[in-house]
């Protein structure tokens, strides 16, 4: 890397003092602000999960009151979804990497980027206010009329929090879209972009097109509750099912906001881990767009037994199967990328393997739910809980951790301890499966979700799940500890510890404030590890 000058100045030590962080416009510093915030929310959401699992150790509802239990899972869901998982990869890794990967000095609108973080924190404050002042008990889905006229908890504060946070997501998406369109370095054509960028582009489309609908929907719940308007309330002839339509119009695409960036991370990990072109690059790139677009057409699969029309159910079912196809394409392409690669067994790859396997199971069980006749039985049981934890925890969090490990040297300039990291990844994998696999079984047996007490015959499976959760908790604690440790004691990383391709590995670790000394000129595709060309067999 002859072109790299060693700068002692980098984005971390460029300026000092709290204000230099709170007023920064550097996308990398903002990424770290988000990293701090979402980690805190993850810990909080995790604490609620621990409480849930403790309660479910015994069939009787003996640890907490049912009111409390209902608040626990609601706040667990709300915090994990809106304040952790949706921002996690885009706002942390995306913020850090999108400009660097396309050879830009920053996002198109740095001030807006900082504003997004403030909006996020303001929204989060409302949600936290709700948590501290008695909590919310509507479930993260806020179904009316329970949320709008019946519940007597802090629905208004939570709704306002989600409304505000939504704008942070919208502005992040907007910033990415404009950046990717307008800020690419010379030579960085669309089909030379890393797949991480493609998937963030697709994610941003969903953020911009979907998030406003959840914003207006929670605003209407707010209006119905606080201003006594009549929108969904059946007592003035309104339709509670309309709320569900509007809610899922966003919230189904939102699950792709959670998974698409994770898929982008996996594409990078697999390419660097196998030192190879991602197999079928353009298919993977277009699969991201296909998921983003088709993802808007399937929301009604959450409403098969909601009294939605049978025909609408059929339309949503068949479209749900269609949206599974691009995901399948991606899984197969990642697997094929390993073929004849130079495959690494370092921690980021372990997480990538974990992701592919667990996402496959999570996604395939999604097919169970898209199957009309089967969903009637498993809807609102623990089968659903297992499905979405497999995709969200087994999928997105695995990818997030894999990505954090992979880019940690770039972010912090230091290496994490590899041995501990492998051990942590193993614990996470084992703990995860022990927690959530039994839930498929107990779900098919018929245990409904959001149950504070349950019949005795479900106990054994629930105890397994709770045991798994404690292992999983330890598994998450391990990286948390050694990442912090490495910031001080980790060995210096150097610009490219993995021998990986990509503009981010051509610059210093940690990078300087405007990323590049001189604007790079790109002359080849994203994963050009070799210039030989070869066929599959």
């Amino acid at each position: 890397m002859h072109t790299i000058a060693t700068h002692t100045r980098n984005y971390i030590n460029a300026e000092y003092g709290v204000m230099s962080w709170l007023l920064t416009r550097d996308h990398k510093r903002i990424a770290l602000l988000y990293l701090g915030s979402v980690t805190t929310f993850f810990a909080l959401g995790g604490l609620f999960a621990v409480a849930i699992r403790l309660e479910l150790l015994t069939p009787a509802g003996d640890l907490v009151q049912s009111e409390t239990y209902n608040k626990l899972f609601t706040m667990h869901g709300v915090i994990m979804v809106f304040f952790f998982l949706i921002p996690a990869i885009p706002a942390v890794l995306g913020n850090f990497l999108v400009p660097i990967m396309i050879g830009a000095k920053d996002l198109a609108f740095p001030k807006l980027n900082l504003l997004s973080w403030y909006i996020f924190m303001i929204g989060a404050s409302f949600a936290l206010w709700a948590v501290v002042n008695g909590g919310v008990d509507t479930g993260w889905t806020f179904y009316t009329p329970y949320s709008s006229v019946v519940s007597n908890t802090q629905v208004i504060a939570a709704a306002v929090g989600i409304f505000i946070t939504g704008f942070s997501s919208i502005l992040t998406g907007l910033n990415f879209i404009v950046t990717i369109h307008r800020m690419r370095a010379p030579g960085m054509t669309w089909f030379r972009m890393p797949l991480f960028i493609w998937s963030h582009y697709a994610t941003s489309l969903i953020m911009v097109l979907g998030t406003p609908v959840i914003a207006i929907t929670v605003l209407l719940v707010f209006a119905e509750r606080a201003l006594k308007l009549c929108i969904f309330d059946a007592s003035c002839g309104g339709d509670p099912v309309l709320f569900q339509h509007l809610f899922w119009f966003y919230s189904h695409p939102a699950v792709y906001i959670m998974i698409l960036p994770a898929m982008g991370v996996i594409s990078e990990l697999v390419a660097a881990g196998a030192r190879k072109n991602v197999f079928g690059y353009s298919f993977v790139a277009f699969a991201s767009l296909a998921i983003a677009v088709l993802g808007f057409l399937v929301w009604g699969h959450h409403m098969f037994v909601s009294s939605q029309s049978v025909y609408a159910g059929m339309i949503f079912s068949i479209l749900s199967f269609l949206v599974a196809i691009p995901s399948a394409v991606k899984v197969f392409n990642w697997t094929a990328t390993l073929y004849k690669g130079s495959v690494s067994w370092q921690t980021p790859m372990l997480y990538a393997y974990g992701f592919i396997g667990l996402f496959a199971i999570g996604g395939l069980t999604g097919l169970f739910l898209a199957t009309l006749g089967l969903d009637v039985h498993v809807h609102d049981t623990y089968f659903i809980v297992a499905h979405f934890h497999y995709v969200m925890v087994g999928g997105t969090i695995m990818a997030y951790l894999g990505g954090l490990h992979y880019w940690w040297p770039k972010i912090s300039g230091r290496l994490y301890p590899e041995g501990w990291a492998k051990f942590g990844a193993l614990i996470v994998f084992v703990g995860f499966n022990l927690t959530f696999f039994p839930q498929f079984i107990v779900g098919y047996l018929g245990m409904p979700r959001r149950y504070h007490a349950y019949p005795e015959e479900f106990q054994v499976l629930n105890v397994m799940s709770s045991a798994g959760a404690s292992i999983l908790g330890v598994g998450y604690l391990i990286p948390f500890v050694y990442f912090i440790w490495s910031m001080r004691y980790g060995p210096k990383a150097g610009p490219n510890p993995w021998g990986a391709k990509g503009l981010e590995w051509t610059i210093d670790s940690p990078p300087i404030t405007e990323n590049f000394v001189d604007t790079p000129v790109v002359t080849e595709g994203a994963y050009a590890y070799t210039h030989e060309r070869m066929d599959v067999v």
């Binding site: 097109l209 099912v241 009604g300 025909y311």
Partner: protein
């Protein structure tokens, strides 16, 4: 950026059309045309909106990307309406055994 500076004459013409259309839509609303009332009102509103988008908002002279962005907004609105209505309009269609079909 549209380096295009549109002559102000066009602005005034569009403005005139918008005012005329507004007057027309008010007038026609007082006639009882049955279902056509809504169709006409929406037709006029769409025309007016199109004029504003094309001329006041310069899309007529904009890049292809602008066209795509604008179009995507309306396509997604269409998705929301179409799939939403797929439920509302087909409720109760399912023939039940023993109940006469209509």
């Amino acid at each position: 950026m549209s380096d295009h500076t549109i002559p102000t004459r066009i602005y005034y013409m569009v403005f005139g059309a918008l005012i005329v259309l507004t007057a027309f839509t008010v007038w026609v609303a007082y006639l009882d045309l049955g279902f056509a009332n809504t169709a006409v009102a929406m037709g006029i509103a769409v025309t007016k909106a199109t004029l504003v988008v094309l001329y006041f908002m310069h899309v007529r002279y904009g890049s292809r990307l602008t066209w795509v962005v604008v179009a995507s907004g309306f396509v997604w609105l269409g998705i929301l309406f179409a799939l939403g209505l797929s439920d509302y309009l087909s409720r109760g269609w399912l023939p039940q055994p023993g109940v006469p079909r209509i």
